[in-house]
């Protein structure tokens, strides 16, 4: 009996974990307790050295001093302040008016605003709730198909999970031991492609089922010129002028050898600046050169674009580390909420309270997982998992297919954080051993896990949408007509086509790795800028490393890197004497 236990510690531990997690007691404590219990058992059976437990405080210390995870509270706080600043409402109203006159226009507006909000911060709940309260009633009013309307809202809300900056990518980078900056660069094209696929589906609907997505009727269009035109020509002209000035600036004024993404950030800023200046001048001098919609669209797009610049722009320019980018974004969101007179002490407290709780439960799952893995790796659990997964038929592809199917189904039951902290550390090292690029792998799993927000019946996005969609028939205020409620079945069925699109996207990334690595190749040019320099250190900390005990040398190296992070490579960072990184 003892021999049987001793010989199968890893599988036993794994089964115990599953049983205990299903009990429904908080995951963090169950994980840690299993780790400690099996650790004691292992010591008693002579499988583990008693000194194993001495490494435990150091493991938690490693979590405490983890700079990457610091981004979790920053981006959460930013999102919570931002969602109450009214920015999303303005965007949805204005962009809805802009696209509304087209067939399927409201759906395009939802996708566009969803992607834009996703690029400023990453809170699925906020996007879904705002769209569910602002866009859904309008879509219902003008006869959108209910499944299509709810599906497009839930799906667009989940874009926050994959378009940088997102918590998913930060935690994925941390768990795979890669830099957040690379993960962001790799996720950009897949994220936008996914939004594009949603839009493609919406176009398909307007062609095949025009009655599902009608255009807004004339009386619902509020931005109209005195002569009755919509004013979009003026907007298109303004857009073209902005694009031309951006390209001209890039060509004639910027250093020819500048790295691509730095150029992209600066040129875009110039283009946006030109449009903004035009709108401001038009407004101040009452020139009436721009139509109302052109002016309005410019003004509502400035705040999200400014925030995107603050967060992603500073990261890609090498001014800030991804963590600091989060802090910049949070400061920007605070300033914006203050400027719009939406910031109050109560709001600050609510946001900090929610952030503190989220940060705590996330970090505690990680602490639990690290205590668990201390024992699990001690009994060679990682070798067991590796053995299971490397012996799959089909090599790399077989592994990828099995892992993706596994994650897809686990996502029905597990939250993203649980998947990231429990499952990723087990499969990450195997992927690495099979020669799979971990950035690519992380983005792939990120897209896959995004479906966990849309799976009926547990998907969070569906849950949030349900919480704000009308639960009983109501009289529409604008038309006075009795409008039927939105049923839960409609929300579930609405999500199905988008879950399928998600699966297609996963397949696309496997078939065309260039979608991810293309973004990285461009980025490699500015690696000299050393945006995030944790890679060499973190790789030694791969979840697979059994000791988890960072040496003091590594710590010193880490701090040196942090101090250097973001500073241009040519200028050595101040205040770091040469001796500190020995």
């Amino acid at each position: 009996m003892t021999a049987l236990i001793a010989g199968n510690m890893a599988p036993l531990m794994f089964c115990a974990l599953i049983v205990v997690l299903l009990l429904g007691y908080p995951v963090a404590f169950s994980l840690a307790a299993i780790g400690i219990f099996f650790g004691l058992l292992g010591v008693n059976l002579g499988l583990l050295h008693p000194s194993l437990f001495q490494a435990l405080p150091e493991r938690i210390w490693g979590v405490m001093s983890n700079d990457t995870l610091l981004a979790v509270p920053f981006f959460t706080f930013m999102g919570l302040i931002l969602e109450r600043s009214g920015m999303a409402e303005d965007l949805l109203d204005t962009i809805g008016q802009l696209f509304g006159p087209m067939r399927g226009g409201l759906a395009f507006a939802v996708i566009f605003v969803g992607a834009l909000l996703a690029a400023t911060t990453g809170v699925v709940a906020a996007s879904v709730i705002s769209m569910g309260l602002i866009s859904l009633p309008i879509m219902l009013r003008y006869g959108y198909d209910r499944r299509f309307a709810t599906g497009v809202i839930a799906a667009s809300g989940t874009l926050a999970q994959i378009i940088p900056p997102s918590l998913v990518l930060i935690i994925m980078a941390d768990q795979l031991g890669k830099s957040v900056g690379d993960m962001y660069a790799g996720a950009f094209i897949p994220g936008l492609t996914l939004a594009g696929l949603y839009a493609l589906y919406a176009i398909g609907v307007t062609v095949l089922k025009p009655s599902w997505a009608p255009a807004l009727p004339l009386e619902a269009r509020t931005f109209r010129e005195a002569n009755g035109s919509s004013g979009t020509t003026s907007l298109i002209v303004l857009f073209i002028v902005a694009v031309i000035s951006a390209i001209a600036f890039a060509k004639y004024y910027y250093a020819a050898d500048a790295p691509t993404d730095e150029l992209l950030v600066v040129a875009t800023s110039v283009g946006v600046g030109v449009a903004f200046a035009a709108a401001v001048i038009n407004r101040l001098f009452r020139l009436s050169l721009l139509s109302r919609i052109a002016e309005r669209v410019t003004f509502v797009l400035i705040p999200p674009l400014a925030l995107i610049f603050l967060v992603l722009g500073t990261i890609f320019l090498g001014v800030a580390t991804p963590t600091e980018g989060g802090a910049m974004g949070a400061s920007g969101a605070l300033a914006m909420a203050l400027g719009r007179r939406r910031l109050s002490l109560a709001l600050m407290q609510q946001a900090m309270d929610a952030t503190a709780k989220l940060t705590t439960f996330v970090v505690f799952i990680l602490i639990g997982a690290r205590v668990f893995s201390l024992t699990f790796y001690g009994v060679d659990g990682h070798l067991w998992v590796e053995h299971l997964l490397t012996n799959l038929p089909g090599g790399q592809l077989g592994f990828l297919i099995v892992v993706n199917i596994l994650i897809f189904f686990l996502a029905f039951f597990l939250d993203f954080f649980e998947l990231a902290f429990i499952v990723i550390p087990l499969i990450g090292p195997v992927a690495d051993k099979l020669g799979i690029d971990l950035i690519w792998f992380g983005v792939l799993l990120g897209v896959n896990m995004q479906t966990s927000f849309m799976h009926p019946p547990f998907g969070f996005a569906l849950f949030y949408l349900r919480s704000v969609a009308p639960v009983k028939d109501y009289i529409d205020k604008a038309t006075g007509k009795l409008t039927p409620k939105v049923t839960t079945g409609q929300i579930y069925w609405g999500a199905v086509p988008f879950v399928l699109i998600q699966v297609i996207m996963v397949t696309l990334i496997i078939a065309f790795p260039g979608l991810v690595t293309g973004g990285l190749a461009k980025k490699a040019v500015i690696d000299t800028n050393k945006i995030q320099i944790e890679v060499p250190v973190e790789e030694q900390h791969l979840p697979g490393s059994a000791t988890g005990q960072p040496s003091e040398q590594e710590d010193a190296q880490n701090a040196f890197d942090r101090a250097a992070g973001g500073a241009p490579a040519a200028k050595p960072p101040a205040k770091v004497p040469p001796g500190s990184a020995q």
């Binding site: 429904g24 906020a126 900090m352 940060t359």
Partner: protein, 196 residues
């Protein structure tokens, strides 16, 4: 039981007090971190102490809020299987989990982390980074945070037992505050005033 319930209320009060004061450190961390990036870019200056303060603040938040988060039942659970059980059954699960998972684990960590702090304090351990901070306050946060967690575990245990004996209403619902999402929805509804 009355004394125990009083103890439980005392612990709840303590963790609420600590939690509500600790969360301000998030704002401090945001400002420090944004300041670090700005100053480094503008003046090409960087200080290891200021970089380290960031994660001291971060650690303080999640360690000192551990008990607070448990009090508000925000530590994440997988409730697909047991979510449909009766309140009493769930109270039994919580009692079992607190006794066999939470308390042993938190006490073990406290036990192991305390000597590390004592060592750091006696040696006046300073961060290995040039110009870094002294280490012992951070080393102390670990056992202190887990102590708050242990205390809250005891309080939760008392409340679950009292609930099973019919002395108090279901404690898992006592501290529910509206979520950020609910507050957002309410705000939008108030401003629009046109929702069903």
């Amino acid at each position: 039981m009355k004394i125990l319930l009083a103890l439980s209320r005392l612990i709840d009060g303590l963790n609420n007090l600590i939690g509500r004061n600790t969360y301000w450190l998030i704002l401090a961390a945001v400002l420090v971190s944004a300041g670090n990036a700005t100053i480094r870019y503008a003046f090409n200056m960087s200080s290891n102490a200021w970089l380290e303060i960031q994660w001291y603040l971060f650690s303080a938040v999640f360690l000192f809020c551990a008990g607070y988060t448990l009090l508000h039942n925000q530590h994440i659970r997988i409730d697909v299987v047991t979510g449909h059980l009766s309140k009493r059954a769930q109270a039994w699960i919580d009692i079992f989990g607190t006794l066999f998972f939470l308390l042993p684990m938190a006490v073990t960590v406290m036990w192991l982390a305390w000597p590390v702090f004592v060592d750091a304090y006696q040696r006046h351990e300073v961060s290995t980074n040039a110009g870094g901070l002294i280490v012992w306050p951070a080393r102390l946060m670990l056992p202190a945070g887990f102590l708050l967690l242990v205390l809250q575990g005891v309080s939760e245990l008392i409340k679950r037992v009292a609930f099973l004996r019919g002395l108090i209403p279901d404690p898992s619902e006592a501290h529910e505050t509206p979520s950020a999402g609910e507050q957002l929805a309410e705000e939008i509804r108030r401003q629009r005033g046109d929702m069903a």
